[in-house]
């Protein structure tokens, strides 16, 4: 960065350098969030959830012996026809811990999507509510998620099912 860069920059660009609301600025580009979400969904559950439940490996072995298709990654769990609610709750706990920890491995946007995906999947596929949030608050969160351009198709479809479910309740 040289003095010339500042001298030649147009005033509108410079207004951004006068903007002190650093927290309000987007840290990640949409294509980056899309990649991070894809990476997170392909991550084995044990990578992130084992620290929250030491018995996770045994639980997955037990589940995968009994049900098909097997569940290994977050995508396997969230897109499963009959996902176990205890693992959805564990996913929700993990996502929430990411939101409250500044050094968490996930950007806020991704942990938020993961958090609401686990809630919606439990509601839509297991008819089980794993949150104390009311329908209005959930609908607001689903609307936010559906506005994100980087959301993958399968997750978007789940949120839309959630919207339909909440809309009719």
């Amino acid at each position: 960065m040289s003095n010339d860069d500042i001298r030649q920059s147009d005033p509108i660009s410079l207004t951004h350098m006068m903007d002190l609301d650093a927290a309000g600025q987007h840290l990640w580009e949409p294509d980056e969030l899309e990649s991070i979400l894809a990476h997170q969904l392909a991550t084995p559950l044990e990578c992130d959830l084992l620290s929250l439940n030491a018995g996770l490996t045994a639980r997955l072995d037990e589940l995968n012996a009994a049900c098909r298709p097997p569940i290994a990654t977050f995508a396997d769990l969230l897109y499963h026809a009959e996902p176990p609610t205890d693992l959805l709750e564990l996913t929700k706990t993990f996502a929430k811990s990411c939101r409250t920890n500044r050094n968490a491995p996930l950007p806020d946007e991704i942990s938020t999507v993961l958090y609401f995906l686990s809630i919606i999947v439990a509601l839509v596929k297991c008819d089980h509510r794993i949150t104390r949030m009311d329908d209005a608050a959930l609908r607001y969160s689903l609307d936010w998620a559906l506005r994100q351009p980087w959301l993958d198709g399968a997750s978007r479809a789940l949120f839309q099912q959630g919207q339909e479910r909440l809309g009719s309740s």
């Binding site: 960065m1 003095n3 860069d5 500042i6 001298r7 920059s9 147009d10 005033p11 509108i12 660009s13 410079l14 207004t15 951004h16 350098m17 006068m18 903007d19 002190l20 650093a22 927290a23 600025q25 840290l27 990640w28 580009e29 980056e32 991070i36 500044r102 050094n103 968490a104 491995p105 996930l106 950007p107």
Partner: protein
């Protein structure tokens, strides 16, 4: 790998340079004022060139004379009544008066044999970015100087605290894209370049760097503003000026 705790704070003393400029030691006062005014010479010069129609080489001389003779030698700032307004406005008014006096003297000398002419006091728009009005030249140049100083302070802070990765991330994601129109460097590259553990750690570093810059900006303005309230008002006004000039 470095940790990213709360960034070190910049000094928060308001009016630090101007206050030092009011101290009794004349040498210290001259040094502090010279340092402060040196940053805003481009703004004073832009005002003379674009608003007053002074030839560029003459504007340089006039600003130098103004700073050396009027401000430093005659100690204009320590005698100024701060309640009358902001330093920015005060300097502009003083410069206008100084230029007018110089012009009047030159005109008088012109009537004497062997004396040359000096300046014509008319606005001119040539040399200014398209659409920018001559009356805005001073304030826009002032805002540029504030940003330049904030960036300089932030970089120095990163260097002295051995956290150049914060400056690096800020440069790649904010300064380059904003000031040079460069594409934002992706987080994967930042991880490789600066040794972060993960892209998320790089984004956390960016958050820290942005807060650091915000403090540096407040500090740069605080060196000539009277209090916290004036710092915030000045930043908001400069932002508005830049927004208006860019339309």
């Amino acid at each position: 790998m470095p940790s990213f705790g709360p960034a070190d704070r910049f000094p928060v003393t308001q009016w630090s340079l101007v206050a030092r400029a009011g101290q009794d030691d004349p040498e210290l006062r001259r040094k502090a004022l010279g340092e402060l005014l040196g940053r805003y010479v481009p703004a004073l010069r832009a005002h003379l060139v674009y608003r007053k129609g002074v030839a560029e080489e003459k504007a340089d001389d006039l600003v130098q004379e103004f700073v050396a003779d009027k401000i430093l030698e005659k100690d204009l700032i320590s005698r100024a009544d701060r309640s009358l307004g902001k330093l920015r406005t005060f300097l502009l008014t003083a410069l206008d008066r100084f230029a007018a006096n110089q012009f009047r003297d030159q005109q008088a000398q012109k009537r004497s044999p062997g004396k040359g002419r000096m300046v014509a006091l008319d606005e001119r728009a040539d040399g200014l970015p398209l659409g920018q009005r001559p009356s805005e030249a001073f304030d826009v140049a002032w805002a540029r100087s504030v940003i330049k100083e904030a960036l300089r302070q932030m970089r120095t802070e990163c260097e002295t605290s051995d956290r150049m990765q914060l400056w690096g991330v800020f440069e790649c994601r904010v300064v380059g894209p904003t000031l040079e129109g460069a594409p934002a460097v992706d987080y994967g590259t930042l991880v490789e370049r600066f040794g972060f553990r993960s892209p998320t750690q790089a984004s956390n570093a960016l958050t820290t760097a942005k807060r650091m810059y915000a403090r540096a900006l407040r500090c740069a303005v605080g060196e000539y503003a009277q209090d916290e309230h004036e710092v915030e008002a000045e930043i908001a006004e400069l932002k508005e000026i830049l927004g208006r000039a860019g339309r």
